[in-house]
């Protein structure tokens, strides 16, 4: 009988992440973002050839000077995962958490098909307009609806579902009803430690857990019609092969879509704000990866300087962008030292209006707008625009503020 080799499918893999309670103590992962192609783990060594005078012309020895672990996670993050990744990238204490403005219960049972619900309290729902609430969060009957505010009555309060909507699920009296939790995250001086676990074929292959990891770079990007995607480059201190796999748990919410985004570019929601085909917001934490003392691996990792770059691909509607970047303003006609400045606010709101992520870059300096090359293909001119965020000489306390509304009811 012929002996066959044992091949392992290359999609037999997972990436898990856990936030450590302290440096030096790894933790089993609790977040398992669904990885996309391009994700990896890399074990690198720095080695040294030792040429010794032993009378020959042969290399006599190679020694290992250092071993490192790093990797990349490419993912279309779900709303709760997105907050986790943002908090890891922005740093320790970055999450200014606000509990749901409204947190109440159903005053009476509700049946599927109802166009209103009865609430025991109206706290957080008293302004005129609408509010999106989640009913039975975490349960099988979890449902997100938008209600018209303020609700009527003096308690219990009757809230009508907006836009003629009706309940899709039945809910018991006493069911939790609350608005989204809000996480406002800005860059901090250093980051928490995380454990990254990467399974390559499970126990048949190898399961690697890297401890004391920090985020080196995070790139948020999307293009027309696609998914909001994150590329997370991380680096760790030490690695251990795990004797057993982790139980993969997945967030059930949908990812964000590019079509859910609303742009405010340089304070305007028109003009180029409507002509963006793709974008990326890249934050680099510039980890200090040189701290090696008595051991083979690094002794720790710390955040270095933070930089934030924004790239936009626009359908060219005028020459203004080129003039702004090189001629001092939209009406400029010749070389000028002044750099064009602006800002970006980008808001993605899922169809349920509950899960929202907002990127706010208040001080951008445009550094490059490449004049497009003409082509005889009959297609539109495109402009590749590059800009960097600054603190505006200290006026701003952050380069990027990310605000996430989701169902994680505590700070990351």
């Amino acid at each position: 009988m012929a002996t066959l080799i044992v091949a392992i499918r290359e999609d037999n893999a997972y990436v898990g992440i856990g936030k450590q309670s302290q440096g030096g103590t790894a933790i089993a992962p609790s977040y398992f973002p669904r990885w996309l192609d391009g994700s990896n783990i890399q074990l690198d060594i720095k080695a040294e050839d030792v040429w010794e005078g032993d009378g020959s012309r042969r290399l006599s020895l190679i020694i290992k000077n250092r071993q490192e672990v790093k990797g990349k996670l490419v993912v279309a993050p779900r709303p709760n995962e997105l907050g986790f990744l943002e908090a890891a990238a922005q740093g320790a204490g970055s999450d200014a958490f606000t509990a749901p403005a409204a947190s109440t219960t159903l005053a009476a049972a509700a049946t599927a098909g109802q166009n209103s619900i009865s609430l025991t309290a109206d706290t957080g729902l008293t302004t005129s307009g609408s509010a999106t609430v989640i009913i039975d969060p975490g349960l099988a009957t979890e449902e997100i609806v938008t209600i018209t505010t303020p609700p009527s009555g003096a308690g219990p309060y009757t809230a009508t579902l907006a836009n003629g909507a009706t309940l899709q699920q039945a809910h018991a009296s006493g069911a939790t009803v609350e608005t989204a939790a809000t996480h406002v995250m800005t860059d901090q001086s250093d980051g928490n430690f995380y454990s990254f676990e990467v399974s390559l074929g499970g126990t048949a292959g190898i399961i690697l857990r890297a401890r004391d990891c920090k985020i080196e770079q995070i790139k948020r990007s999307a293009k027309a019609g696609g998914l909001l995607t994150y590329e997370v480059d991380w680096q760790g201190v030490a690695t251990i092969a795990q004797p057993s796999a982790s139980t993969v748990t997945l967030e059930p919410h949908p990812p964000f879509l590019y079509t859910q985004g609303v742009w405010t570019l340089d304070g305007s929601t028109t003009g180029d704000a409507l002509a963006i085909e793709s974008f990326d917001i890249t934050q680099k934490n510039n980890l200090d990866t040189t701290i090696q003392t008595e051991q083979l691996t690094l002794a720790t990792l710390i955040f270095g300087n933070v930089t934030l770059d924004v790239g936009l691909n626009l359908v060219m509607q005028s020459g203004d962008r080129i003039a702004e970047t090189y001629f001092g303003g939209a009406s400029g006609t010749t070389d000028a030292q002044a750099l064009a400045t602006g800002s970006v606010q980008l808001v993605f709101t899922q169809a349920n209006a509950f899960f929202v992520v907002t990127y706010d870059v208040p001080a951008l300096t445009y550094t490059k707008t490449e004049p497009p090359a003409p082509k005889k293909d009959g297609k539109a001119f495109r402009l590749a625009v590059a800009a960097s965020s600054t603190s505006d000489m200290g006026a701003n306390a952050f380069l990027l503020q990310t605000t996430v509304a989701n169902s994680v009811s505590s700070a990351y």
Binding site: G24, I27, A28, P29, Q67, A140, R211, P243
Partner: protein, 167 residues
């Protein structure tokens, strides 16, 4: 007689404490999701407060002993916070310098039973120490609970007198 010990793969009950429901990956569970009674579930969704059976190392963490010089292979000491008897009197910092590494269990699950109880209940049905890989578990070790220590007692639970479980 060797002390029964949990193997990292032994399934033990754990309560989900996350703030939102998650879904267990099908391929990971292979249709064998057990609830608190040990009965099979037919739903992969895990809601806050649900009890499911996870691998012991995910619930209680695990301990390793590394060679700080990186010359010898690391030793897997076992599930929970495990310390060799000869190092029992050392501080955490001193143990860390020797290469001890204690991994914590998942932050979104909590153990239903303290480690000692789980060992009594589930290790008997699992592989005894003597059947574990030769380099994976050292006999005669003292055991400190990890996450499960909140409800743990300080009584000795060793059956052969060689190991003790501490708060």
């Amino acid at each position: 007689m060797s002390t029964p010990r949990l193997t990292p793969d032994q399934r033990v009950p754990a309560r989900y404490t996350g703030s939102y429901a998650v879904r267990l990956a099908h391929r990971d569970i292979n249709g064998a999701i057990k609830d608190e009674t040990g009965a099979l579930r037919n739903n992969t969704k895990v809601r806050p407060g649900d009890i499911v059976h996870l691998r012991a190392h995910e619930v209680y963490g695990a301990s390793y002993l590394f060679d700080p010089r990186g010359e010898r292979d690391p030793q897997f000491l076992g599930v929970g916070k495990v310390v060799l008897p000869e190092h029992a009197q050392l501080s955490d910092a001193e143990r860390a310098a020797l290469g001890y590494e204690h991994h914590e269990g998942r932050s979104d699950f909590e153990p239903v039973y303290p480690l000692e109880d789980a060992t009594r209940r589930f290790a008997a049905a699992a592989e005894p120490v003597s059947a574990a890989p030769a380099d994976s578990v050292k006999p005669d070790v003292s055991v400190k609970t990890g996450k499960g220590s909140r409800a743990a007692t300080t009584e000795s639970t060793a059956q052969d007198g060689s190991a003790s479980h501490e708060e």
